[in-house]
Symmetry: C2
Subunit: 242 residues, 2 copies
């Protein structure tokens, strides 16, 4: 059922179950928007198979990562991927609930929190017990739980990076301000030049002053379906540790 996929980054590999939830373009986009500083302490909320800590560890030298995942089987896959890549010194995977993050981690100390949370409301969900559903729908936690947890863990001026859907943007802005994670940078992501955005990445800063910078939209594909130059440049970033 499981397979080992090559991450095309310094020989890194990831264990995934093709019948479960495999990482997508959104995890790769999010990881490549994170700005790291030497020795940053990073938490990834809802880490799944650990794709974001793995990519960030591959693209940094001195930062350390903790990934929190609710589902036991997925969590075990993430732990085995960390061991497979000999990254136990830099990545720790914990099983637990985002709603209890403040009991699992020290508060107000982290430099960076990342999240690629479930995008969809849980209303109308057919099978909430299914692992894929928990990764995609707000069954186990909702957007407010994620933003609250990020705010609790971050130090003052710590950075929060999240990828989500544009139709949730008002919720995102409202909740981030409510929990003192002022949105500072927003990038809308369009599949093609003449399409509406289908993803957004927001960078917030705990306790920062009000002022949002909106980047020009990131266009993923050329009209012929190949990646744009800007997407390739983003993916091929070698070192995010500024």
């Amino acid at each position: 059922m499981e397979r080992v996929d090559d991450l095309q980054l310094k020989g890194l590999k990831i264990i995934q179950n093709p019948k479960g939830f495999c990482f997508g373009i959104d995890a790769v986009l999010l990881a490549n928007h994170v700005k790291l500083k030497p020795a940053d302490r990073v938490v990834d909320l809802g880490t799944g198979t650990g794709i974001i800590p793995l990519l960030l560890a591959g693209k940094s030298r001195t930062c350390t990562f903790q990934g929190l995942e609710l589902q036991e089987a997925v969590c075990n896959m993430a732990k085995r991927s960390v061991a497979l890549n000999h990254l136990q010194e830099r990545i720790e995977i914990l099983q637990g609930d985002i709603k209890g993050a403040a009991d699992l981690f020290p508060k107000s100390v982290y430099d960076v929190v990342t999240a690629n949370p479930p995008y969809m409301h849980s209303k109308g969900l057919i099978n909430p017990g299914d692992a894929k559903a928990v990764s995609r729908h707000e069954v186990a936690c909702d957007l407010e739980d994620v933003v609250r947890a990020a705010s609790l863990l971050l130090r003052t001026h710590g950075r929060f990076y999240m990828i989500h859907r544009p139709n949730r943007m008002v919720d995102i802005m409202y909740l981030m301000r409510k929990f003192s994670l002022e949105p500072k940078v927003l990038t809308m992501i369009q599949p093609k030049r003449d399409k509406a955005p289908n993803l957004l990445i927001v960078e917030g800063k705990k306790g920062a002053k009000v002022e949002l910078k909106i980047n020009r939209p990131l266009i993923i594909y050329e009209d012929d379906g190949t990646y744009t130059k800007e997407t390739l440049a983003l993916y091929h970033q070698e070192d995010l540790e500024g």
Copy 2:
């Protein structure tokens, strides 16, 4: 000091003072994003020389408009423009303060409220007595005053249309939700294809359910500085009354 400009729309004209505040592309963009229905009652908050009611009257048949303007001299110009265009039956200009809008207008009855408010904070302003400054800076009213007034005047499911700067987007989303004007449609406006947005237009609906649609960005100019086809098509809309 004053001059009469042709609006290039069904012979409509507007009186402006080139040393004061002349309407810009933002007023024209906003007007052309407004969706009207037959016999809609519309208020324009901070109407200036009346550009938005004039354009909307020219692009509709049965809707009626009221424009609220604080500054007496500007208000008088707007009134004279209405008379010059023989639109007294459809447009009324009132002098008054947005902060007192609930005393000047009936509450919870309007179908549409429009606003092209001052974009800039009043901090560091050199001459707050200057008419241009009052139009551009939050001297006389701030964003919260505008959103609160719009919410008071609109009926349930009445629509609010505002153009503003992207760096204020978090404030806009936060305040609109706070005052029950749920943002429903957002259009980011980019001067050129490869530039970051410098304007946004938001449509909110009083008491509506949560769900934001983000359009593809509107690009104003081609690389050679001519208007794009989509901008020309928008400007040349003849009838906004759907």
